[in-house]
Amino acid sequence: MSEIQENTTHFGFKTVEEDKKVELVAEVFHSVAAKYDVMNDVLSLGIHRIWKRFTIDCSGIRKGQKALDLAGGTGDLTAKFSRIVGKTGQVVLADINDSMLKVGRSKLRDLGLEGNIEYVQANAEELPFPDNYFDLVTIAFGLRNVTDKDKALASIYRVLKPGGRLLVLEFSKPIYKPVSKFYDFYSFNILPKLGKLIANDSESYQYLAESIRMHPNQETLKEMMNDVGFEGTEFFNLSAGIVALHRGYKY
């Protein structure tokens, strides 16, 4: 009689088998894909755009470089990278979920962006790219959903060129108690209701709120990055720590 089941992990506040998590996450994102961008704007009051701009400014992205937008979903970062790296550069939009990838591809095509973007369905834990390939890897609001984060971080380290950097933009732990309290209230009481109203799906947004709380805090994530080999790792708290941007280099 097993007391604690082996190979389990968290899915929000629930405990599930490790192999099942990928499917459950997939269901969430198939469900939210169509209204993803709208929901981002509504739930964050448009502030997610500032977080993403901050990420791009910290990325060091330049003309002619190769960038990987991992768990890039609907392609917000990819669009900007595409215009910055230009004709001589390349951007790969990778996501494990093909519904999100479809929405992203359609959106980017409508924006008139095409030449330098590649779309790849991939699992962050096992990236299908050669060693030392990218100048920049970004993963925005995606690491939280990965089953084995250490494996993903190691995989990212492998595909980065020496001199390249990783940027992780993710929900984190607020640094002030009152902000925490308001944030908890907002996440558990308002978010799922808005989800129901706009996307007709309150469960996915319940998962969102729960998965944020299960994600490692600022210092822990920094340690995890250092453990797989990143150096010069630092993090920037945004919106009082509700979101954090971690940046590490491969030397």
Binding site: R49, I50, W51, R53, F54, I56, D57, C58, G60, R62, K63, K80, R83, I84, G86, K87, L111, G112, L113, F236, L238, S239
Partner: protein, 204 residues
């Protein structure tokens, strides 16, 4: 450490959104952007010294608060020089007076200034979609009249100022005086040439 703050990003967001919105209404914008496609231009106001990087592409303009590569062109200018940028002929004057510093191709700066300032927007057409033809026409007509009046007054004021400087205060020579002076210089040049000629003849 990061050189940018989320507040800087907010500013970038405003400027970028406003500029692109205007460009959407401007029929000539796409062509102008095409000429600068793939160019990255850094602009810093001397007073603030926080640069903004404009990434020009066929689709739109992106504005970054930080760029670690080499910009194709970097401009440093005084805030007041922004107004003068509208007139391309002023560019060389601005550079001479030190109000504008350019690191890169000046042609890029000219095209960039045009991109930001010369907008061919059919306001009447866009407005009429919102408030109807008649109201749009009346509104645009009255605004154009006001603008005309303003320009007239501005020109009048400038003319008066010029006259005060040259005629009353005699701080600078008036046009006739300058012309007369130039004529005198030409006369002297001719006399010198005639002398040179005579000198050569004598030598021979």
């Amino acid at each position: 450490m990061s050189n940018v703050t989320p507040l800087d990003n907010l500013v970038c967001a405003f400027v970028e959104t406003a500029l692109n919105k205007l460009h959407q209404l401007d029929s000539s914008a796409k062509q102008k952007r095409k000429a600068l496609d793939g160019t990255i231009i850094g602009v810093a106001l001397k007073e603030i010294d926080k640069p903004l990087y404009f990434v020009i592409s066929q689709q739109q303009i992106d504005i970054l608060g930080q760029y670690e590569g080499q910009a194709d062109c970097f401009i440093r200018l005084n805030f007041l020089a922004l107004i003068d940028l509208q007139d391309n002929h002023q560019l060389t004057n601005l550079i001479k007076s030190g109000q504008l510093e350019v690191n890169g191709d000046i042609k890029v700066v000219q095209q960039f200034a045009l991109l930001l300032t010369e907008m061919d927007i059919d306001w009447e057409d866009h407005l009429s979609n919102k408030v109807g033809d008649l109201v749009a026409h009346k509104l645009v007509y009255h605004i154009k009249q006001l603008n005309k009046q303003f320009c007239k007054q501005h020109n009048k004021a400038q003319k008066q100022l010029t006259e005060i400087i040259t005629e009353e205060l005699k701080l600078a020579p008036g046009p006739l005086e300058v012309a007369h002076f130039c004529d005198q210089v030409s006369d002297i040049e001719k006399q010198i040439q005639a002398l040179e000629q005579k000198f050569l003849e004598v030598k021979l």
